[in-house]
């Protein structure tokens, strides 16, 4: 593999990992808000 292959692989991996984590946090937040209902959603930390 050329240097460019490792560079593209590394940058792509970083993008996928960060996007995956953001997506996971986002979906768990939505689920928790849905379970709590509208009354407790408005209470921000």
């Amino acid at each position: 593999m050329t240097d460019a292959g490792y560079v593209i692989g590394g940058w792509a991996l970083t993008g996928v990992v960060i996007a995956g984590y953001v997506g996971r946090v986002w979906s768990r937040t939505r689920r928790a808000r849905r379970l709590l209902g509208p009354d407790e959603q408005g209470r921000r930390p």
């Binding site: 593999m1 590394g10 940058w11 768990r28 808000r33």
Partner: protein, 254 residues
């Protein structure tokens, strides 16, 4: 805390994160010259070094929050929640540091892995905080769990200076500090230095944004857990009261 975490603050932080990541992509992939020795492989440094920096920062925040929980005068559940949120991000970025280091090592050193002091101590750090996250999942009363996790976080943090100074203390394949070396004389200049700096800034904003989101998620999940527990206790109490002659279920003590 409520005043600090405003919706506008979150939006501003998110915007800064997106903009700084875009600047990093432009500087790191298009503006930066190839290194005279490493060629284009140096472009992996703009992710690897900031990811390692975020590991240090995340574990530093975890340790500080854990110490504040253990100190009686500042003890509050919020510190334990913050410590857990920061540690999870730290583990994510330590894993990324190791993976990027491996991808960088293959073209530069011709190996994916080496039993080198810096690499091994970083892997140990990864597993220490993975263990810390596992410890947080062990069922226990919240104060007991918070105390044991705070102690574990402080013990695990001992490895952070070992990771950082490993390249000074032992002969390693890994290069010495590029910026924070013993002479405090950065061995990087020109547009390579700007690309590295933009990586550090972008990842710092990203860390702060992820921490805010993860911390808020932890609070929501704690609220859901408490609600489910209340519902389960109410159900058991109703069952017990339905049985003739039963003494009922004691009041919630959690």
């Amino acid at each position: 805390m409520q005043k600090f975490w405003t919706r506008r603050g979150t939006a501003v932080l998110g915007g800064l994160t997106v903009v700084s990541l875009a600047v990093l992509v432009v500087l790191g992939l298009f503006v930066s010259d190839p290194d005279f020795q490493q060629g284009d492989a140096v472009r992996l440094m703009y992710l690897h070094v900031p990811a390692a920096w975020i590991s240090y920062l995340a574990y530093g925040v975890t340790s500080l929050a854990s110490a504040l929980y253990l100190w009686k005068r500042t003890r509050a559940q919020v510190w334990d929640t913050l410590a857990g949120a920061s540690a999870e991000i730290g583990v994510l970025f330590t894993g990324l540091t190791l993976a990027l280091g491996s991808l960088w090592g293959r073209p530069v050193w011709n190996v994916w892995w080496a039993w080198d002091a810096r690499i091994v101590s970083t892997a140990v750090l990864f597993f220490l905080y993975l263990g810390y996250l596992a410890l947080r999942k062990v069922p226990a009363e919240s104060a007991v769990r918070a105390r044991r996790c705070s102690i574990a976080a402080l013990v695990a943090f001992v490895d952070v200076p070992v990771v950082h100074f490993s390249v000074e203390w032992w002969r390693t394949l890994h290069q010495k500090g590029t910026v924070f070396n013993r002479e405090l004389n950065p061995s990087i200049q020109g547009n390579l230095a700007w690309a590295l700096l933009s990586g550090v800034v972008a990842f710092t904003f990203l860390y702060l944004y992820l921490l805010e989101r993860r911390y808020r998620l932890a609070l929501l999940e704690e609220a859901v857990e408490g609600r489910e527990l209340d519902a389960a206790i109410a159900e058991r109490r109703a069952e017990a009261e339905a049985v003739p002659g039963a003494r009922g279920v004691p009041e919630r003590v959690v």
